[in-house]
Symmetry: C2
Subunit: 247 residues, 2 copies
């Protein structure tokens, strides 16, 4: 099994796995956020349908594939990133149960919507357009970072429509948008059930939040122990290594 | 200066202060929650109007009085607790700027409402009535713990009406109700701005959350470093001692 690498691309192993993935400095490479999301979500283990939205190079979907034997679909708008994901899925021999789709979260095809899924994940663009797009950014990165083609509401709406009753939506976001995220989830019948904050170091404000909601769930939110990334010496903490590197 | 103690009462010093307060095993004694709320809220320091709702024996208002030179009003429904608060305020010689009022959060007198306040705090009853009231509880404790006479929505509505534009509402709650709290605050034009979770020990889920919102504020929520109460040996952590005992 081998990955087809094109100019400007490289092969990395996904953190904590033996899975190769195609990355690119100029187009897309995953960040900690994506890995933590893939490990945070409650997955159906033996079978089920999983959907990753705004899937980029497919990193979240591939992490989910290490945790679930179910069928996984991943949807990405950008053709360039979609092609990278296709080749990474093929290179891992996962075509039978992992499907990379080029599509728009705002109008998903019928077979990806309509209340079929057990789990929907998304590592969406974090920044509202009002905060402005840096001119220096290339188009690929701008689309992945800013709400140009997909807002938080688009993601939550699509997630709710795709989930079956009792299915779960798991998101990663900046903590600044937590209130908005909770309000939107409840507006689309997703009850926030599980929350975890990531802090760069002890005593520091959080810079990342993971939230999972259940479609049609009852009220009642649990907040897990926080995840601290770095020790005072600048190394990964043991708790972070456990989750991120599976050590 | 001396406190008038009645049968079944005792005098304690408020954690981290030299302030005496009247407590009672059978009627009301404060918990960690109240102290953390009094230390968490952003207070106007030199002057201003502060209001504590569901004030119990007055502990939150008295902590605020150590941090602000402003005028503080505290509102409690139960006559027995209100009287304890009156005597503690008097015993601390604070009658000139701390006023204990007997009143109902659902219908505050005009001088405590109408957009006058810089800060409103509340350590409300935590438990919805559907979770049931233990028959063993006495009436005083049942009213302080369960939403018999005052719901979370009553508190947030009253807080919003009492605050001036830009004023802050600071609450302590169980994390289970965070989603509801955020939804209600936004419904009453209070934007959640600052969040802190309390965890009983490292690696444990949170069992307490502090949240502050600003009336008419812009979206954008910051999540402070979490507060861990106990070390593995069962002693207070140094960060907790700093906040709780001011050491």
């Amino acid at each position: 099994m081998e990955l087809e690498i094109q100019t400007g691309e490289r092969m990395d192993f996904i953190a904590g796995t033996k899975m190769p993935i195609i990355q690119s400095e100029t187009v897309f490479s995953y960040s900690i956020d994506a890995i933590l999301l893939g490990r945070f979500a409650h997955v159906p283990i033996q079978k089920g349908r999983l959907l990753d939205l705004c899937s980029g190079n497919g990193v979240v979907g591939l992490v989910l594939a290490t945790r679930s034997k179910g069928h996984i679909a991943m949807v990405e708008l950008q053709q360039r990133l979609h092609e990278m994901a296709l080749r990474s899925v093929k290179g891992n021999g996962l075509e039978a149960r992992v499907r990379a789709v080029r599509g728009d979260v705002r109008c998903l095809p019928d077979d990806l919507s309509g209340g079929r899924f057990d789990l929907v994940t998304c590592n969406p663009p974090y920044f509202p357009l009002r905060e402005g797009v840096q001119r220096s950014e290339n188009e690929h990165k701008a689309l992945a970072r800013h709400e140009i083609a997909c807002t938080l509401e688009d993601v939550i709406r699509a997630g709710s429509f795709s989930l079956k009753h009792g299915g779960k939506l798991a998101l990663v976001q900046r903590p600044e948008r937590l209130a908005e995220m909770i309000t939107l989830m409840r507006a689309y019948h997703l009850e926030p059930k599980r929350l975890q904050f990531v802090h760069p170091a002890k005593g520091k404000e959080s810079n990342m939040v993971l939230l999972e909601g259940t479609k049609g769930g009852n009220a009642g939110l649990r907040t897990q122990a926080p995840l601290i990334v770095y020790t005072e010496e600048g190394a990964y903490t043991s708790e972070f290594q456990k989750v991120y590197l599976c050590q």
